[in-house]
């Protein structure tokens, strides 16, 4: 859409489990960049670690929007990363066997992750168990720690 000289480019939407936050990919100075918005206020939320390593693709949010998973470009590698907006931590997530991640989906409770990659000419999906790696992000009142985060 042409509006004030700006062609609309909003792609790859991902809602938080509670429906209050929306992550999407926008064109920021020609670079596909993830953007997180609070839908109630319309305010764009600051992301501490995700202003670099574009292009970003396939954002995914946990229940309260605490965790934002996205695929980034680091050097010549595509890599899944997770920003923890509550603790201001950033988790890099190299894939096994040098697989190139194509899509990522974070479970609403942040207990697992699904990755799409290519293998032998076919699309494959692998599930990764995150319990013990991240605190669960559950509906209000249900937040609990399953185990310490390992760094």
């Amino acid at each position: 859409m042409q509006s004030n000289g700006f062609i609309s480019s909003q792609e790859d939407p991902a809602l938080s489990g509670d429906g209050r936050k929306l992550a999407l990919i926008v064109d920021r100075n020609g670079r596909a960049t993830v953007q997180l918005t609070d839908l109630r206020s319309g305010r764009v939320l600051p992301l501490r670690f995700l202003s670099r390593h574009q292009p970003h693709t396939s954002p995914s949010l946990s229940w309260n929007g605490r965790y934002l998973a996205v695929i980034t470009q680091r050097g010549n590698r595509r890599q899944v990363v997770i920003e923890d907006l509550l603790s201001s931590r950033f988790h890099q997530f190299p894939t096994l066997h040098h697989r190139v991640p194509i899509r990522v989906s974070l479970a609403p409770d942040a207990g697992s992750l699904a990755l799409q990659f290519a293998e032998n000419g076919q699309w494959r999906v692998e599930l990764i168990d995150l319990t013990g790696k991240l605190e669960l992000d559950q509906p209000a009142g249900a937040l609990r720690r399953t185990s310490d985060i390992r760094e």
Binding site: P13, P108, E126
Partner: protein, 172 residues
Amino acid sequence: MIMITRYLTQPAFLRFFSFFSCIGLASCMGGSIRPMPELSGLISQPTRSYREPALGNKWLATLVNHQGKEKIQLVDLRGKRIVGLPGLNRSDSQPISVSVSADGQRLAFVRQRADQTELLLYRRELGTLQRLEVSPKGVPRRVSLDGAGRILAVQVSRNGGWDVDVIRLSAF
């Protein structure tokens, strides 16, 4: 009644930059990634191709291609079984994107059928399939459902650009 709110990005949003670096606060999970091989048989049949994964808490929706035909598959991760989706997949349509609610009861998806691209909501408990209209008109591409399955965000091709619409399914 479907309430549709169009989510608009303001140009000012694009001027936001973060100048923080991640030095000292980044962790790497590379040495401790734990795949879930007990579920691999459900999502890694060698003659099938799997793409567009979408997780609920204990549910995984994917698009599965077998012998050139693609369909939506839902896996119950707790019960380690593929769940039937009667009335959802059609031989004359091609699924494009899928999303599942946290409890696995609702699936939103985009499919191509004949010359139409449709946005639909499937409710497992009722076995019903409902087409959702995109307004203003546009072509849906990718969909995301919230945990309760009552709000969805959909990427729409409209007037030569990509928009994201947020649709509140208030009466369902």
